[in-house]
């Protein structure tokens, strides 16, 4: 079996890379990709810990996290399309007005 700590190390690295992407990248789509990386890192932790007990609470929680992440991505992409229509850019630094 794979030791539990290896899952945790991998998910920690994935989480750190996700945070770095969210901070450095200026394109909306890539920032969303970073958020997905962070959510996936959390899910790896939940699933890895759920192997420790007979119940599957961690797996159920990861399942609902996935559903919420899908809903978040849907709404975010809709907003991105609307923002692009308004500002003609997908660079987060240039989107700095609430209204014209």
């Amino acid at each position: 079996m794979i030791p539990l700590i290896h899952y945790i190390v991998i998910s920690s690295i994935l989480f750190s890379i996700g945070v770095a992407i969210v901070i450095t990248k200026r394109n909306i789509i890539v920032v969303l990709a970073g958020i997905e990386l962070i959510l996936n890192a959390a899910n790896i932790n939940l699933v890895a810990f759920s192997t420790q007990d007979g119940m599957i609470k961690g797996q159920m929680f990861a399942l609902f996290v996935m559903v919420v992440a899908a809903a978040e991505a849907t709404i975010a992409l809709a907003i991105v399309v609307q923002v692009y229509r308004q500002f003609k850019t997908s660079n987060l630094d240039e989107i700095n007005k609430l209204k014209d």
């Binding site: 991998i10 994935l14 770095a20 992407i21 790896i44 699933v47 192997t51 797996q59 399942l63 609307q82």
Partner: protein, 170 residues
């Protein structure tokens, strides 16, 4: 046993390398496509953790849904053909690397301090040979039925809201 470990570390390496590629590439399309490799690797890790249902769900939701949505987003926000977008500025880049490295440092400090807990935990893990699918189905319809319904309503709201927001003419 050894072969399984080699496959696990192959997929772990694939996941981390693809994530690093997203961090360092300057092309939006390449970033979104290497997200595919991350999702595949995470799904393989779920299989090794005994969560087959979650692995399939990961493939269906993320690769089939979220990734396609992101590709549509890239296409809809594409100004001109073949243009490479400035994804990062230097000062942001240093800030991001610093913050990512410091978070990684904090997490590894926590891991090293509590290493004994994790190692002792992994010894008494009862590796279940049976599939967890049966248990997931029963739990979804009994213990977690309220969460299941609420999440269904949330998805419906997200669907209607996304159609409303994206379809509205500015």
């Amino acid at each position: 046993m050894i072969a399984a470990q080699i496959i696990f570390y192959f997929f772990a390496g694939l996941t981390l390398l693809a994530a690093l590629f997203i961090l360092f590439t300057k092309n939006v399309l390449h970033a979104v496509l290497s997200l595919l490799a991350v999702f595949l690797g995470v799904s393989a890790m779920y299989v090794f953790a005994g969560a087959e249902f979650l692995a399939i769900t990961q493939l269906v939701i993320y690769v089939g849904g979220v990734l396609v949505l992101m590709l549509f987003g890239v296409m809809l926000t594409n100004r001109e053909k073949g243009a490479v977008y400035p994804l990062s500025k230097n000062n942001y880049f240093i800030a991001g690397i610093l913050s990512g490295a410091s978070i990684a440092g904090i997490l590894s400090y926590i891991l090293i301090r509590n290493q004994s807990v994790f190692i002792s935990a992994s010894h008494n893990s009862a590796s279940s040979k049976t599939s967890s699918l049966n248990l997931i189905g029963i739990s979804l319809m009994s213990e977690y039925v309220l969460v299941f319904e609420v999440v269904g309503i949330l998805l419906l709201m997200a669907l209607i809201g996304a159609a409303f927001v994206a379809g509205k003419k500015a």
